[in-house]
Symmetry: C2
Subunit: 424 residues, 2 copies
């Protein structure tokens, strides 16, 4: 006889946690039709039971204070981890997996750090472990990479995967706001936290790129393998200059394959206004993929928020219900696996935007040109205004760029203000 | 013991058919790793064996002239139908399903017309029947709707799903080309056929909207249920006017839910430049979805072409290999099913763009305003230039619009030149 009910326990009833019962309730007929089962939240782990009583009553589930009330309950099929943080969540998920519960998580930090360990454990226990909501909230990018794009050869994944910084950069580009003004605006709207470090320094985006890289290339890297530069130092004058050259600044998570090695970075970059990513504005997210078969494709949607993120969690629950129904057990979310190989700096190719200050009013452009020529970086465009010079280049390797930057340090005529990658 | 090889026969070796062996060859290691199987084309049905000999030799498969050589071959697991057309393809697919072969097809006309019959037969035979490539070529939209978005409540699906017309409209908007000039340009690039009827009259897009509607709402409609208007009559002056108002014309396949009924149309429409679909240019396609949980999401990519479409076919083959591996049999591509209900004209709501010619030089704007007021259509903006008047309105039902159009016919001061929907 088929199992008619999938019983779920939720750990944490914050923003996302309170969206999950709402969606399960609203879509219950559809879910029952496509899975052949009811999916019901029966328990939720919360710190303060009093605070969440109304929610629990509305959706008819029980509030419990101890993880044991969940992992030791043989009735529970799935544990949804929404408490965030790394260590506590890791312990809870391991306990759940060890008790043969399927697990859904929206915890990017945890998955980027311990994804491999948890995936291995889930496989050993013959249960499912899904985390669609961990990357780009409502955008179904992980399941798309692991199913529809699974047989395509991916070369490039560019992501606008942090809504806070994208909102700030949109304000800077469209309204001429400074970094500080944009941050205040984001904080007022609740897009940025009081301490915005994780977002503005690119760490949040880097975690997501670690996960996207695992799905795109089968390679497991750690946060230390990602070159990270945040938006804190981005100057209004560079934003304006980019605009006049038909580019917009975006915080781009960039994961690319060069030969057999991959290179993963997070940094502000100039994106040409004709590029699909240039039109991803405010708090929205998008993941742009280049692959051998499909070519260019892009997946756009909200990167955060209660309902969008909860919708991804519910999609995972539906997938688990179908696995249970069809008796498909212990298949990893991402099956693709290759030995990790990082690309060398000599392989990583980019176009660059250089911004120099002219020192002592000496506009020694011939000298600057000869430094570029000596470094074998071809200049596409050189714009001279006031005491500043902007140089846009053709493609050159990261190694060549580094060498060139050293050569600039030794000249007394120009000072490097900034350098960014360009995506055309 | 696990089956180690999935044997495929391809019907037709045209543009897409020749892309499939190329992708299977190029991605063979990845495919073997994620499916645990080799996927190999072993036979292809072609009309003229001589013409395709080189391709067959290159990829080591056998050319056969008769469908019986395929459906009666017990070694063949999957039949990939790429011959196009409706009746012949329908017969071949039924023979294949009756012989317990899994089937993959890229044939939108067939699936929009006989999808239900073939899906039912596949289910009875306990085999898989997939057709990701039938809608929007390389964009993995059907599998996304049937998996990741399956538990979300979809309210609106807007598609730019015909590359030919999108290329033409881009030429008209960006280069000021007339319809006739844009058509010639599209034909020269191979984007439009000598007889462009299917594309420019919106029929190709309508077939795709039939399939998308089935996935989005579980409702099966036929081509007759789609209100179709092509781009043949679109005037350059409307394109220019739209541009000056910050809109671009796109051929929008629009499938929306009003209460419990759906309304499906294909027509040129004004899309605001801030809308994600406005930036989908040239031959590219995109599907924009509004749903209760996720909110707004968009899926962008190439709508046609050998490799993109073949990549979707290969994604279907990989899904079948996994079904075989995990012993998941006869699950329809789209499980969601609801009784079909079409929305009434009084329920279907739009904003409109009206273009009138002023007859006899009489600018009786008060009369025009009172006709709108009488019809209860609120005017948002009225632009008077020369002998023409443009009126942009707030939302009104299709029923109210029809009634209004009749009232205009009876006045001798204004003649309706065109009316289009607006998407903000």
């Amino acid at each position: 006889m088929l199992k008619r009910m999938l019983k779920v326990a939720v750990l944490g009833l914050g923003t996302v946690g309170s969206g999950v019962p709402a969606i399960l309730q609203e879509q219950k007929d559809k879910i029952e039709q496509i899975t052949g089962m009811k999916i019901a939240i029966v328990k939720a782990l919360v710190r303060d039971i009093e605070v969440k009583k109304a929610l629990a009553q509305k959706y008819h589930f029980q509030l419990v204070p101890d993880i044991k009330d969940i992992v030791q309950d043989p009735e529970i099929d799935v544990v949804v981890e929404l408490i965030g943080g790394i260590e506590q969540a890791r312990i809870f998920i391991k306990e759940a997996l060890n008790a043969y519960k399927h697990v859904v998580s929206a915890n990017k930090d945890l998955i980027a750090t311990y994804g491999e360990e948890l995936t291995t454990l889930a496989k050993e226990q013959n249960v499912s472990f899904y985390y669609e909501a961990a990357v780009a909230g409502g955008i179904p990018i992980l399941r798309t990479l692991s199913s529809s794009l699974s047989a395509d050869g991916i070369d490039e994944v560019l992501g606008i995967v942090n809504g806070t910084t994208n909102y700030m950069l949109t304000q800077m580009a469209q309204k001429g706001a400074t970094y500080a003004e944009a941050l205040v605006a984001a904080q007022e709207l609740g897009f940025a936290e009081a301490d915005p470090t994780n977002d503005v320094d690119g760490i949040d985006a880097a975690y997501k790129m670690v996960i996207l890289s695992a799905f795109a290339y089968g390679m497991r890297i750690s946060l230390d393998d990602v070159k990270i530069q945040g938006i804190r130092m981005l100057q209004s004058q560079d934003v304006k200059m980019a605009n006049s050259l038909d580019y917009v600044f975006k915080l781009i998570g960039c994961s690319r394959k060069f030969d057999e090695g991959i290179d993963v970075t997070v940094a502000p970059a100039l994106v040409h206004k004709n590029h699909q990513l240039a039109n991803v504005n405010n708090e929205m997210n998008a993941v742009f993929v280049k692959s051998a078969g499909i070519g260019e494709s892009m997946y756009y949607g909200p990167g955060a928020g209660s309902l969008p993120t909860a919708a991804s969690v519910v999609a995972d629950l539906v997938a688990i219900a179908q696995n249970v129904q069809y008796k498909v057990l212990g298949i990893p979310f991402n099956i693709y696996k290759k030995p990790t190989k990082l690309a060398a700096d000599s392989q990583v190719i980019n176009q660059y935007y250089f911004h120099f200050e002219v020192l002592d009013g000496k506009k020694q452009f011939e000298q600057l040109r000869s430094l570029f020529a000596k470094a074998q970086i071809k200049i596409k465009e050189m714009i001279d205004y006031d005491t500043q010079v902007i140089v846009l280049t053709y493609e050159a390797s990261a190694k060549i760029k580094s060498k060139f930057l050293k050569s600039i340090e030794s000249t007394s005529d120009f000072k490097l203000i900034s350098v960014y990658n360009i995506f055309d």
